[in-house]
Symmetry: C2
Subunit: 384 residues, 2 copies
């Protein structure tokens, strides 16, 4: 599909709260604030908004945002499920609304006090239903346990090493050091990674993302409207979802291809929409709740062959400024903040505006991905 | 907007379970069954599906449906909130996906065991948060209490009578008598309505919808694909959402225009999309969780002036075959089944296929609405 066919929606405003372990304010207050600030950054007002898109896990509704900001009418509102898989899907929904004329100015947001909030697995008892009954009682209790299964299998199948996981963490920490908003800015070496304590074998502390309180929003509108606003528009060249066969959320092991994740399917769609190939991508923001997810994504998004994600991550290939594929240039979920991957979208926008603190020179295309352990989504953003 | 511009998506298959107070099966099993059966009715198989859309209240996820039916990959999945406001919004999302190429065959469904399920207000204690804290502790506990406020205000402002509410219930019951799938088929008179017990003043038992276990699904695809399937396609001429200003879900009273509901805003959009006016509509399927919602909708969808919904509903105007606007021709939520208004969509499809048990002669356009006490949606279906 020709690239121009899909250049139908643009990101024109972004905003984020601070990121911290305990922000001391409600998710609702943060949500209202970032939506308002993203509009202001774009040069828009709440009266201009006619669409809102959210994660289904979001604790604040569209109606609450609209009322608190004085949005006169929402002609479009929708949600997407599956936690960290939903980030780029919100962009896809917003872009669809704009493309189809259902709405003209759509804001997507995520506000989550995960740093100070509860952890369902922290007690001695938890109730599980649905698919969770098939794996949680057998010890795959926390997300880190569930992804550790994928990591162990990747090591078994391909000889991937913990040091290769560490190379991902070290690269992203290096980028976080230049980002004043990142939560983790201390230098990290592979040795530091190897010395960090085991959380769920084979995953160590520094293989795991942060737990963050914070909120972020992006404003999507038509290319026509985008031209007359305050910021340089960023084109949504592709925004796609994928699930694949026989999917079990967070425990996608009951299938012939054990390591095949929904990312493989989102990748196919997003490249087709954008009319580009992996080699055209200048930088990437990978969903990085855990380091092995980055290694799997490098394979499924076509930057290396299956099984080669471990070696690919070494030798600084993911590092700015000299790596072949500078990745998670704000520090990502591992070192900037973990807000269900939504901060990756904002860093993608900054790269395409030319305002990242690890700006990739002459970058024209940025891939942003969402979580591959669940039904997922991806976007390709383009400089305009 | 020209009508042809919006004739971009079609409904090609429908299916429903039986309706009962206690169906004796899980919602998940019902959901899988109706999705499969709607595909079969269309002449499609699970392998053809690449999109699913659901209510956010749905207890079964897209991943569970996909895995249990063997759908190889979902390229599109999304949700909409606000309970009974979401019915036609699922059609809008499916149509957008199809129009934009995000997916080609999208199934929308609703499976809900409300007849046998719990009622959150039935205990002596309930926990409320969010906006509910502002009205539930003051006695607006059940949906019937919340809508009774609108009913009482309509009576106060316009002299609307309980007998006019009754005329709605009597008309829809008349239609249910011809529908073998309707739960309530005993004849009903205005006197029966007046003698039914008060549930929440001014609303009587027969002003209230049923509590039903049941499930329904519709299949949406492109007009091109629709042409070669088993059923006569039904065009989605318009499918739109609306919220309006200062909205409080189920307690939308804190505004200057007390009786203005989100329906007014969905109406504006859906007519604009379809390029038609109220006088072009041949029959309507009104969201009828409570009779006064129909009277409000008659006004907000432009079939009479504000305040005149009560008199409009009298003299058989809503009755098939001789009324000016045959409405809820399957019996609706009041007498067929209450499955969050999703059964209204299926009856709209039957009218446009020419297969209703109260078939409106030569009907070309059917309006279907979703709940107006919440952020809502509406669709205009067209015969092809």
């Amino acid at each position: 599909m020709a690239r121009e066919l899909w250049r139908k929606a643009a990101i024109v405003g972004i905003a984020q709260s601070g990121f911290s372990k305990n922000i001391g304010r409600s998710e609702r207050s943060l949500a209202v604030e970032v939506v308002r600030n993203a509009l202001a950054e774009a040069g828009l007002a709440p009266e201009d908004v006619d669409g809102l898109v959210r994660f289904d896990l979001e604790n604040t509704t569209e109606a609450e945002i609209a009322r608190n900001l004085g949005i006169p009418n929402l002609r479009f509102f929708a949600e997407v499920g599956y936690g960290g898989g939903g980030g780029c899907a919100t962009l896809s929904l917003a872009a669809m609304a704009v493309e189809s004329g259902r709405a003209e100015v759509v804001v997507c947001w995520r506000a989550r006090n995960r740093g100070s909030g509860g952890r369902p697995w922290a007690g001695t008892r938890m109730e599980v239903g649905g698919d969770q009954q098939w794996y949680i009682p057998w010890g795959l209790v926390r997300p880190v346990d569930q992804i550790a299964m994928l990591a162990a299998r990747h090591m078994h199948e391909f000889g991937t090493t913990s040091e290769q996981f560490g190379a991902v963490a070290v690269a992203f920490r290096k980028h976080a050091q230049r980002n004043p908003h990142a939560m983790m800015r201390d230098p990290m070496t592979i040795e530091d990674h190897q010395n960090s304590r085991m959380i769920s074998e084979p995953l160590r502390k520094f293989d795991c993302c942060l737990e963050t309180d914070g909120a972020l929003a992006v404003v999507v509108t038509t290319p026509e409207r985008a031209r007359n606003l305050k910021q340089r528009p960023v084109a949504i060249l592709g925004a796609a979802q994928g699930m694949g066969p026989d999917h079990v959320v967070m425990a996608n092991y009951h299938k012939e291809r054990f390591l095949e994740t929904p990312s493989l399917f989102a990748a196919r769609e997003v490249y087709a929409q954008a009319g580009v190939e992996p080699r055209d991508i200048d930088c990437a923001q990978w969903y990085d709740a855990f380091t092995p997810l980055v290694i799997l994504s490098l394979e499924e998004y076509g930057f290396c062959k299956p099984g080669e994600g471990g070696p690919f991550s070494e030798n600084g290939r993911l590092e700015w400024p000299d790596g072949a594929l500078p990745s998670n240039t704000s520090g990502g979920g591992l070192s900037e903040a973990y807000v269900h991957g939504f901060n990756l979208i904002l860093e993608g926008v900054r790269q395409m505006r030319g305002t990242s603190t690890c700006q990739v020179e002459d970058a024209e295309l940025c891939l942003v991905t969402s979580g591959g352990g669940v039904p997922t989504s991806a976007a390709i953003l383009a400089r305009t």
